[in-house]
Amino acid sequence: MGFYVAQLLTGLANASSLFLIACGLSIIFGVTRIVNFAHGSFYMVGAYLAYSIVALFPGSILGFWGGVIAAALIVGLLGLVVEMTILRRIYRAPELFQLVATFGVVLIIQDMAQAIWGAEDKLGPRAPGLSSAVRIMGEPIPEYDLALILIGPAVLAGIWLLFHRTRWGVLVRAATQDREMVGALGVNQAWLFSATFVLGAALAGLGGAIQIPRESVNLQMDLSVIGDAFVVVVIGGMGSVSGAFVAAVLISVLNAFAVLVYPQISIVLPFVVMAVVLIVRPYGLFGKEGSGHGAPTEPEQPLRLMSSRATLVLMALVFALAASPLVASDFASILLVDLMVATLFAVSLHFMMGLGGMVSFGHAAYFGVGAYGAAMAVSYLGLPMIPAMIVGPLAAAVAALFFGWFCVRLSGVYLAMLTLAAAQILWGVTFQSQEYTGGDDGIVGIWPASWATSDQAYFYVAFALCIGGIWFLRRVAHSPFGYGLRGVRDSDVRAEAIGMDVKFHQWMGFALAGTMAGLAGVVFAFSKGSVFPDVLGIGQSVDGLVMVLLGGIHALAGPILGAGVFVLIEDWVSRLDYWRFIFGMIILGVVLLAPDGVAGGVDRLMRALGLRREGQT
């Protein structure tokens, strides 16, 4: 009995840490609708700051807790800087665009933290006065765990009081429900948003600072926590702080007991819980309908076919690309293959997000299934390259049909998070099934057939598949099916009223996008000769997302430009020292100069120069 009580207490202590990390994210999203990737970075900075400040007062109880609070306040200040210099300028940008800016912030903070605190892990002191364990029912329980179990609910109560007993809190709650209306009533939104962002950032900093007696402070903290934080927020319902608390308890306690039975489960447990919760309750445990959407943005311009002159120019460019291996070096061909793979991946994601209105945080799932499908066809079935290239997209199609069926029943960020859960579960299974997928040692030896081994020959294989895929998706966008998909995106009620099967349209759109991502994955696998679970990972999904958003979600050319900019800049910049800082700065620069993405920026530039008439896409 004592053993289980102790395990429960351990779970509850973890729940408090998790809640502290996640609640700020939930508050920020609730009011500003910003999906803040930099939340993990705030958490990491909080931990580092607390480590440095507490070290000034060794052994002092006041010094410890004062240091923790000071760290949280400084991180709040950092949040203010980020909000005022960057995010405030792009609130009017298309939904989720701010995510790109926060991605830039993540990169910058990673390099700055390494420059300031060095590469070696830091181990903070134990909390003075709470440095040992007490026996409860004969089992040792660390005192600090008990303190955490109290701190979590105390912070929850504090937030509740702030939201229910202060005017500011009432405004925040009002803005969470309807920020247009709050603005119409004369509340200064800019001020409200800044204050909310500061509060959220400070809570993240507090979450990090309070961890230092439990774990070492290191440079991997930011990314290791961000996934779990999102999961907690989504399970609880976006914007619901008490929901986040319940979700944190649910996940942590489940994990504490699950490791007793099946130790390997930890790797996917949060995502499995999230998937189950979202399937049963589409808005999370305490979320309200519509809580997963941003403000309604301006309806998009309808897509128009290109003029015949523009078509000729495009054709010329494609021919130039086709002829490039004849003049360029081998390495240029290799880089162009990577570029084409990234472009097809981004175009397929854009097909889903831009045309279908279904945001995906887990598009890498289908890219990865395509790559693994082809790799396993080669290594287990012994298929040659061409048949394996057919197996890959088919496998991706099956996976997309399966997961898509669940996903299209949701909308907004909840849909996005269910796609992420699907991707993470696939990643976990791939990672774990060492005997079939090679685990994280991956599958190697997936090289092109002998006639296609030269860099030039493979370039043409990739060219045919990727440009073909992009052309196909473009055709579909202009087909009746594409019109239907956009109609469903713009108004599902009206689409349904004229007799369209809304869910079926979305499902098919999802599956098509997944299949094409799978095709990109196949080309990728043969160009690299190996596949590893990273291809299914969050990093790959985020890269695609950043490409699409950076390029401009409202234009068909957006993902093409986004992928081009992203791949080429990264390839160039990663040769430099502190390249993450530079890359992050470039991303922020693009974001601020072109809040409608590269495509939008180029479009405005051309109009300003008088090179293009209104209404052309």
Binding site: R126, L219, N255, L260, S329, D330, L335, D441
Partner: protein
């Protein structure tokens, strides 16, 4: 949108020219070597490593280079992603005309580069990846490995563990290939030495996301006589802290892989566990003349004591130098022939050679116990375990490799 695209293509078309400029400007003869590692993803290990190979390169060039040519090492960050590593490798081979590649820390990147080396017929010296598969189940004729592998280090610990004469063992390892290999190797080696050993629990926390409290509780519940630990980095710190808070290590010996490496031991500070049996690197305590010379040079160049990564980086370049001298050219086939049984007669860790049968170097590791000396964690009572003694015989090893 279209002018933008044209600009991109224009920039692309200009890319190959970038490579031509430095080549034309060079006067003295040089040997270009490509080096790839996870500099941003794992700086704690790769920074000392870079300092190590830089020092070796500078010393060699100051002494006149190799075969009359200067060594030039182009180093790139693989961002922790195997596909990026492959792209960089392609660029190094096709544009920079690197004669060979070395580096790698993560096992998956090591395996990807090894397979790339096989496909493109380039010599690759895997410096740091520990994976057994690299030289055994997925070995190939173009790939050699320097650092003592997971199996070797686990075998060194199993030998010490058998002397403890404990019956019930629990294991804790990060849930990925390295952790699994390390547990499997330790289990099989210890069972050979002590057939009555019982395995009462195993825990597999996700890498860098250990729920240390729950893991410690779950281990405690099985009441093991001794514990074998494979966690490292941030996971190790959490595990040590939660374990000592909850008395997991009271009267229970712990055998722990790599935990004596300064990269992992130093951050634990005065909370470092005492009496753990570990593999690692006692750094400045090593008093062989070769190591003292290396240690002093390293201190002078970088102002800090060398770490495990430093020694791996340093020995990598020593190996490359030996191979180039023996081959007498930079031709891949000549270098591969030179690598078979290549002896590195003098290195800071002592002499070692590359086994012809499985391409594994016999460079060893240091085995000792952890202790706090003046409040700082250290390895004490250590000895150098020569890698050759912890490898299967060359015939057995050759059988584990795929047919060429």
């Amino acid at each position: 949108m279209k002018p933008m695209r044209r600009k991109i293509l224009g920039a692309l078309a200009a890319l190959p020219m970038l490579g031509m400029i430095p080549a034309a400007a060079q006067a003295q003869e040089k040997i270009v070597i490509g080096e790839i590692n996870s500099y941003t993803a794992l700086p704690a290990f790769t920074e000392p490593y870079k300092k190590g190979w830089t020092l070796a390169m500078e010393e060699i060039n100051a002494a006149g280079g190799v075969n009359g040519a200067m060594l030039e090492i182009i180093s790139r960050d693989d961002t922790g992603d195997p596909s990026t590593a492959i792209r960089i490798a392609e660029e190094m081979i096709s544009r920079d005309e690197a004669v060979m590649l070395f580096g790698g820390f993560l096992s998956n990147i090591g395996l990807a580069l090894a397979d790339f080396a096989k496909q493109k017929q380039v010599f690759f010296l895997a410096s740091e990846p520990l994976s057994d598969a690299l030289v055994w189940s997925k070995g190939n004729r173009y790939t050699y490995r320097l650092r003592p592998s997971t199996h070797m280090q686990a075998a060194m610990l199993a030998e010490q563990a058998a002397k403890l004469d404990k019956k019930k063992w629990a294991t804790v390892a990060p849930n990925y290939a390295y952790g699994k290999d390390a547990v499997a190797a330790f289990k099989s080696e210890l069972t050979k030495l002590q057939p009555d050993v019982e395995w009462v629990a195993e825990q597999w926390p996700p890498l860098f996301k250990i729920d240390a409290g729950s893991t410690v509780r779950a281990l405690e519940r099985s009441k093991p006589d001794a514990i074998y630990n494979v966690t490292f980095g941030g996971d190790l710190a959490k595990f040590v802290r939660q374990g000592s808070l909850r008395f997991l290590f009271e009267d229970r010996p712990v055998v722990s892989l790599l935990s004596g490496e300064p990269e992992y031991l130093d951050p634990l500070g005065d909370e470092a566990p005492e009496g753990w049996i570990v593999t690692g690197y006692p750094s400045m305590d090593i008093d062989t003349p070769e190591h003292e010379e290396f240690g002093a040079a390293y201190m002078e160049r970088w102002g800090e004591a060398p770490k495990t990564g430093s020694i791996v980086g340093y020995n990598s370049v020593l190996s490359i130098k030996a191979a180039l001298e023996k081959a007498g050219s930079t031709d891949t086939e000549a270098m591969l022939a030179a690598m078979e049984g290549l002896e590195v007669p003098s290195s800071p860790t002592g002499p070692f050679y590359y086994r012809a049968a499985d391409h594994q170097a016999t460079m060893g590791a240091y085995v000792g116990t952890t202790a706090l000396v003046d409040g700082k964690p250290k390895m004490v009572d250590w000895f150098y375990a020569d890698g050759a003694n912890y490898l299967p015989s060359e015939e057995e090893a050759a059988k584990m490799r795929p047919a060429e």
